[in-house]
Symmetry: D2
Subunit: 153 residues, 4 copies
């Protein structure tokens, strides 16, 4: 479904990659951007012991971080030149312990708008047990920095 969205600029992927590269926390985590399409972004995070909670699984903070970033950048792919994206808010349900060797967050645009873009995301764990969806997110993003007139949501 996300494939149906039309980007407003040809360099949407480049803009996402440049912004992602400036997020130092993503480097600290070891997260990488693995897919950027109109309205769809995937971020991969290999397991690292430094990112764990009290039971040795990936901490919800890391799960949330990649889900939020994937959602925000999915929104950014559909925004005009000069725009930046901020998270207004998000909700995440943690569905299962984040147990695995690697994690993939997929963010997708549910509804783009001139001001507000609503996104959904999922995080999947890959490990000896196969694939498990460990979290699902519903997020509200806002476009800033490229507005010229009385935009409406």
């Amino acid at each position: 479904m996300a494939a149906a969205w039309q980007p407003k600029t040809p360099d949407y992927a480049q803009r996402v990659r440049e912004s992602f590269a400036k997020q130092r926390i993503m480097a600290l985590f070891g997260a990488e951007l693995v897919r950027v399409e109109p309205g769809l972004v995937e971020i991969r995070l290999p397991f690292r012991p430094e990112l764990t909670q009290q039971h040795g699984y990936l901490h919800a903070a890391a799960v949330t971080a990649i889900a939020d970033s994937a959602c925000g950048y999915a929104a950014l792919t559909l925004m005009p030149a000069g725009a930046e994206v901020l998270s207004v808010e998000f909700k995440i349900n943690l569905l299962a312990p984040a147990k695995g060797d690697a994690f993939l967050a997929r963010g997708r645009v549910v509804r783009p708008g001139r001001t507000i873009t609503v996104c959904a995301g999922d995080v999947v764990a890959y490990g000896a047990d196969g694939e498990t969806v460990v979290a699902t997110m519903l997020a509200t993003m806002i476009q800033v920095g490229a507005r010229t007139e009385g935009d409406r949501a």
Copy 2:
């Protein structure tokens, strides 16, 4: 208001401290537990450049991490011996850029329950501009591990 809650065990603060100490991501972030009372927990995070987003402010992931932990541990203070706490879900509104020298997350119990405990949290930034509330959270926590039939969510 939180002061009215009654802990179920005298060592509630010790249990929170032990669990917090096992969260390796909190050490990676440099977060510290600064207050543990019945139904109320505060976590402090000094600014660090490794934790920033693309504009040099604290990344929402770090803001969310300390808010979620403060809420979860606030819930744990009211749980019985042997119990552990998991985040079922949370929603966070990011109210202002997380610009500051240090950040304080305060989590408090809104309603404790035998299975589900609802918590609210805020994150305040302290800097040259004074204090700013940068985020507010509403979270659902679940008690696991101390239940007779080992029921899990």
Copy 3:
């Protein structure tokens, strides 16, 4: 995907219909249950002027009501005999004005659990302009009443 869920009792649809019939507010709204499958429930609401907000569109309260009920009953289809379902919490994003002749809420189970079931829902408006998704929900449901020790949230 929802089709993969296995109901725990053969009479799951009957239980949903009986519970729905007792919700007097659904009768007041004129909402009807139109589809009950394992992990999937649809509720239809024809437009009525008594249910409008200040611009003459369906009020968010009515949109939310059918989305929440569809999610809750989707969860109930997978619960054991004697169980009842309560909404712990939900978040809804209102994506577009609820303008239409009729509205369909579809709730589906994202992850069933012994205590907590996570559901997602959408509300679609049908009108002269075709179909529009007007809202999306992410909800946390809890099973009560069929548990050995009578645990309640």
Copy 4:
């Protein structure tokens, strides 16, 4: 705290009352606006059997409706002339059965903004058992209709 907010127009209460009066669903429910201050609105709903769920308590839809309206109108009190308010999204935690003779929803502004205003709300039940907080909400509102230039959140 809400008392500190400054309204942008002297007739803020009148604008809220006029908008509320146009919401036909509030009349259907029997809800009334009982308090309008800068950044703070209260809506009262007497119990009515037509508004119940399957156990005879007030349906979550009615609880949510008054909480959302109180939050939205709290936001509107701080908006400029000509502005209208829409709910972008909200999350509500249902804390206890909505059992009582009357219910009061209080919405308050957490952070006002030129585009986005974040609000929190609570619903209290009044009955033979005294007062019970039955729900708490965190909501994101957007200003529409009175924008003249490149507003930012």
